[in-house]
């Protein structure tokens, strides 16, 4: 049986970039294949944006290499037309209309004059912003601006798309548009590097996930696999009390919960959280302590980052 080989669109090998003594990127290896969505998460200053800039050739490396479709984007200009980027900011000219903006960025990406009209129309259709084509950006709401920002990133049909926090501040409708767009781009064999803090983005959109800290890629893998590795079957259990009482301490610490908020809040990662919650409720009732809240949360990205950075450091 013939196995279809998927091509690497983005490759970083031992990518290192220093600012003085601080390494913004430290020996990062990363490979992104066509049709793949790779989500990058990490705390502020972890190196995500530096990695994104390196990927599109906007900065040069002190060590290592970056290749987009086999070429160095910081030197080989021709490959830049294969890259699209939607920065976190609305990177568009506010005094131009949506259509004018797209026309400008299509032209700068090398789309010929003859193909530009259809390219602009298609990008507006895919991001559902054709209805505002003739309106200036300065007159549009933030949701419409985000759609136009996305449209400008795809107007020249890039093979590598870098999206920096694309869903921040999005309404549900625009989020669904983005989801459909990513599905279509993936079908079109576009590789997508997604920088996000949103757990839903990562869970729904990403094929693979990488956690960055201090310029290093600490762990990577499929989101579900990483969650399983990090937390097993554990989920977060949160207990809030009306009053702090010494009698609750042995009950809660025995179940692996830790106190905060002057003993009013207890939380921890536990196995079989629902059963534990029932036991805690009964135990607290027996010592006559009033319960304000008892909640079970699936672990979020922050917990995953904590796990990734803590586990490697250990």
């Amino acid at each position: 049986m013939a196995v279809e080989q998927t091509k690497a669109v983005l490759q970083l090998a031992k990518a290192t970039r220093r600012y003085g003594n601080r390494a913004a990127l430290d020996q990062v290896d990363l490979e992104l294949k066509e049709s793949e969505v790779y989500a990058l998460i990490g705390r502020n200053g972890a190196g995500k944006s530096t990695l994104a800039k390196a990927a599109i050739g906007a900065l040069t490396l002190d060590e290592g290499s970056v290749r987009v479709l086999g070429a160095d984007p910081s030197r080989d200009r021709y490959v830049r037309r294969e890259i699209g980027v939607a920065p976190h900011e609305i990177a568009l000219y506010l005094h131009l209309t949506v259509a004018e903006n797209l026309d400008v960025f299509a032209a700068l990406a090398g789309v010929s004059r003859a193909r530009r009209v259809s390219a602009v129309a298609r990008a507006m259709d895919e991001t559902v912003c054709a209805g505002r084509a003739a309106e200036r950006l300065e007159n549009l709401s933030s949701g419409w601006r985000r759609r136009a920002n996305l449209a400008a990133a795809i107007v020249h049909r890039p093979r590598l798309l870098v999206l920096d926090e694309p869903t921040e501040g999005l309404d549900t409708e625009t989020w669904l548009i983005l989801r459909r767009l990513i599905a279509r781009l993936r079908a079109d064999r576009t590789a997508i590097l997604l920088i996000s803090h949103n757990a839903e983005d990562v869970a729904v959109l990403a094929d693979r996930l990488g956690v960055m800290e201090a310029g290093r890629l600490m762990v990577e893998g499929r989101p579900t696999e990483l969650m399983a590795r990090a937390f097993g079957g554990r989920t977060e259990l949160v207990v809030r009390l009306s009053d702090a009482a010494p009698s609750v301490e042995p009950i809660l610490t025995a179940r692996g919960l830790a106190a905060s908020d002057q003993g009013l809040c207890w939380s921890g990662m536990v196995v079989d959280a629902l059963a534990q919650a029932r036991e805690i409720e009964m135990a607290l009732r027996s010592v006559d302590v009033e319960l304000r809240e008892l909640a079970v949360h699936p672990p979020g990205l922050d917990a995953l980052i904590d796990w990734a950075t803590g586990s490697v450091g250990a």
Binding site: A58, E89, A91, V104, A109
Partner: protein
Amino acid sequence: MILVMVRVMALGLWRDRAGLVLVFVLPPLVFIVFATVFSAGASGRLDIRVGVVDQIGGADSQRLVYSLQRRLGGRLTRSPNVAALEDAIESGRVDAGLVLHGDLADAPTPATVLIHPGRKAAGEILIAQVNAAAGENLPELMLRREVARLDPLLALTPDQVRRSARMPLGLASTPPFAAQRVLPGGDPLVIYYAGAVSILFLMFTAMQGAMSLIDERRAGLWLRLGLSTGGVAPLLGGRMLWLTALGVIQALVLFQVAAVVYGVPVLTNLAAWSATAVCAAAASAGIALALAAACNTREQAQPVSTFAFLILAAIGGSMAPRFLMPEALQTLGWLTPHTWVIEAYQTVLWRGLVNATVLEAWTVLASFAGAGFLAALWFEARRRL
């Protein structure tokens, strides 16, 4: 790619009404103010207000006052006494005063001009007006004074002196020793200020446009623009081209006003004027782009450029005429584009020449443009690394 950036910037200005006013309306207005002030001073049309005290009250003195009144129009007022006149001068109600206190025909100095120490020029103008009024309307009086002055030297006979005193009224005034002819080619100070104001505003206009670089950086646009297949050079080249074109249009508007209002001969020297305008606009664009590329934020660029441009304008002669400056400052002025622009426009429009000075000015301005553009490229390339 260059034209794409030109279009982006042109639409930016076109859709900014306040920006259009600042670029195209303010410079001609400022020029008109400067030109009105300085051309009036240079062409002898300074309108001074004069107070007069006639302590003699004779026929000759009254004729002199009447003659002055005709020359000065409603700007001559009579004061009852010297104290009142001094008070009027000190309070600024009049610029200078004239006291007629001696026999106009015989007294060696029959009149005194009173001047405020802060307005000495007004005194000089009043003395000239008094001499002109006396020469034109009291020629026989002036003749009698000359006869009295020459008598000891020429030893005139009593009969000759009598005959000179009987000279009829209405004797034709003495023809001037030298006639006056105003040369064509426009008022040099008007041309000076057209050039001076033009380069002053070119700098600020170019800087406003160049600061779009900083805005783009802040908005993340530069990251997206950086993906353009042409690299940084066309992106900056488009800006350079637009800012130069904008500068030429701005200069065209300003000099058109100068041509219509003051008769500055732009059309008759159109080719040389155009070359000067292009060089001046390109120099401003280059310097502004270099400054904008060197600065990280608008908050940094705004004071740095204002400081630099005002200093350059002051040294280069955009604020006060260079010929009023000390020698050292005039020499320092040659380091600024302002001096070269002013010199080139003056030579081209006033003297009607394209000589070595003009060619040198064009070369220097083109060098400012080239050096500025290269510096901007270098700063932007460094920023990307």
